[in-house]
């Protein structure tokens, strides 16, 4: 069988079929890596896609701090990676309740001395409403202006390279994380023409 992590990534891909998983059970990582067969190359591609989405979400999700204990961010992944991302953030910020989600669903995770505890939830709004029963979720500190100022300061006009930008920060991920500042900047940029 391919490694546990790779199997996890394969299963999480929206486009993975039963026969892909069956095939992945019968090959090892070496075979996966060096295969010339189309069906195995396809599995490689599925794994890479899921891995890429996780990586982009780790980068582009933004947190609002709600009260002392809750960090909340918008995320609408294409693949079934909610917990992989939420648990990863939980380990980065021990003791905080990490809430990631969208209009449809949410993922809640916390890391304590007891390890990871997590829960799949209803729409983000509903989950936050429920958490309000336990915690004061007071008005968060808005970092948008600070971030926007810094973001603009890093840009060199004479190096403008939209193609590279689109490749590294594809619209689909900006949408799936509701990235505001970069999008706004991009729009302003388009209006220049």
């Amino acid at each position: 069988m391919i490694s546990k992590r790779k199997m996890e990534l394969l299963k999480a891909n929206e486009n993975t079929e039963k026969n892909d998983i069956q095939l992945a059970k019968n090959i090892d990582d070496d075979r996966l890596e060096t295969a010339k067969r189309d069906d195995i190359i396809h599995i490689r591609k599925l794994i890479r896609e899921t891995g890429r989405e996780i990586h982009k979400m780790k980068g582009f999700v933004r947190f609002k701090q709600l009260g002392e204990k809750v960090k909340c961010g918008y995320m609408k992944p294409e693949h079934d990676i909610g917990f992989m991302v939420a648990d990863w953030f939980a380990k980065r910020f021990p003791g905080y309740i990490i809430v990631l989600g969208n209009e449809r669903e949410s993922w809640v995770s916390i890391y304590t001395e007891k390890g990871i505890s997590n829960e799949k939830g209803d729409p983000l709004e509903t989950t936050l409403k429920e958490l309000k029963e336990y915690f004061e979720l007071e008005e968060e500190i808005d970092l948008t202006k600070l971030w926007e100022t810094y973001y603009k300061s890093q840009y060199s006009e004479n190096r403008k390279n939209k193609e590279l930008f689109n490749k590294n920060m594809p619209k689909k991920y900006m949408k799936r994380t509701k990235t505001e500042v970069e999008k706004k900047f991009e729009m302003r940029d388009l209006n220049d023409y």
Partner: protein, 407 residues
């Protein structure tokens, strides 16, 4: 959701003292953030990869082995760190630098306080805007006084806030050795920019910075101190490309010296851009392609492990890299006959344009099972046939018959 109740209780019970500053940044002067941020935009290292593993629960943050980009500027470059100057006041007169004491277009000078800067960094980190801090600075009136403040900033982060995210700290030219020692306590990566490829070239652009004393000697301090105290992401440097009229070959030679003698982890290249009001403001912009070609030779040396004498084949008679992939230039001069992917060694395979370390590795593994008999198989193993085809033969069949490699 019964489990949500459990999670809420866990959070209530958790006794972590996460004493994070909770600041409203309304009072912050955004012109300062803008100016001190822009002061670092020619410093291009965006790496946040570090092998340092973070354990335990009483902390904020951790690191990632591969590094993470949190955004990209419209020029397509990764933003991974809160990259800022501590102050843009500087006693040096470098004629390429917007922060130079001599720059007539330089506006107001600003400075953070260590606490303020630590707080901003932590806020951005908590919001997942960045992987950490990249802290650079002008030298102020005295580099040691500023260096002390840089160290105080990262000390607050590490010791008072239990921050375990990534830190890249600059060592200012001329800094006392003791500060370097203390910097090693907190940083993942240290860097000191050589800025120029040699003593005489630096002299052309700065009358106050001394190549041997201010820069190379401090790099040796870092190198030697690193042996006693681990620096997880190593030390790095950067040079300007084309600021002083130097050739690519001169830069390449300094690259080899830096890797071999200073034991640096990475060298970065930044194409010269004229800044209004500086001594070099009448010079032409150096195209990005020039720095790109240098990165490619750097890659051939560092990742492909090619000997410098071999890479030298890519340079023209004037010591510049022609506008094409250096690996292609070298292959055209060096590879005598088409390479058979079933026979060639790994070292031979990676010298073929269109084949990289990854696809070469795949070829070697795959042919243990069965021979490669079709061109399409190569492309399935990741070979870029468009570039590789003329240099290969499959089943004795090769693509170029006339005039070595012309096609």
């Amino acid at each position: 959701m019964a489990n949500l109740e459990k999670i809420a209780h866990l959070a209530e019970e958790s006794e972590f003292d996460v004493s994070t500053p909770r600041k409203n940044w309304d009072e912050l002067d955004l012109n300062k953030v803008q100016t001190l941020g822009a002061g670092t935009k020619h410093d291009v290292c965006a790496s946040t990869a570090t092998p340092r593993m973070v354990k335990g629960l009483q902390k904020i943050g951790n690191t990632s082995r591969g590094g993470i980009c949190h955004s990209f500027t419209p020029d397509g470059r990764c933003i991974s760190l809160f990259k800022t100057l501590f102050t843009n006041e500087c006693s040096h007169d470098c004629s390429y630098c917007p922060n130079s004491d001599d720059c007539s277009s330089k506006g107001k000078t600003y400075s953070y306080t260590p606490k303020e800067l630590a707080d901003i960094t932590l806020s951005l980190y908590q919001g997942n805007y960045v992987e950490g801090l990249f802290l650079s600075s002008g030298t102020g009136k005295d580099e040691d006084i500023i260096m002390e403040k840089l160290i105080e900033t990262v000390r607050i982060l590490r010791k008072e806030y239990n921050y375990e995210g990534y830190i890249h700290l600059k060592i200012l030219p001329g800094t006392d050795k003791d500060y370097i020692k203390r910097s090693l306590e907190y940083a993942d990566r240290l860097s000191l920019n050589i800025e120029s490829c040699s003593k005489s070239r630096l002299h052309e652009v700065s009358s106050t910075k001394h190549y041997d004393y201010d820069i190379l000697r401090r790099q040796r301090y870092i190198r030697d101190l690193m042996e006693k105290k681990d620096l997880p992401a190593g030390h790095t440097t950067q040079t300007i490309v084309g600021g002083a009229g130097e050739s690519d070959k001169e830069i390449f030679e300094s690259m080899i010296r830096e890797y071999r003698r200073m034991d640096i982890k990475r060298m970065y290249y930044s194409s010269f851009t004229p800044v209004e009001g500086t001594g070099l403001d009448d010079r032409e912009d150096v195209p990005n392609s020039r720095e790109h070609r240098l990165y490619q030779t750097d890659w051939l040396f560092r990742v492909y492990d090619l000997d410098p004498s071999e890479i030298t084949l890519a340079f023209d008679e004037e010591g510049f890299l022609p506008d094409g992939d250096p690996k292609m230039e070298i292959a055209q001069k060096e590879l005598e006959e088409p390479v058979d992917p079933n026979e060639a060694s790994y070292d031979r395979l990676i010298r073929v344009p269109g084949i990289g370390p990854k696809s070469a590795g795949r070829i070697v593994k795959s042919r243990e099972e069965e021979d490669i008999t079709k061109w399409s198989e190569l492309s399935k193993l990741g070979v870029v046939l468009k570039r590789a085809r003329t240099f290969l033969k499959v089943n004795g069949w090769k693509h170029s018959t006339l005039d070595r490699w012309s096609s």
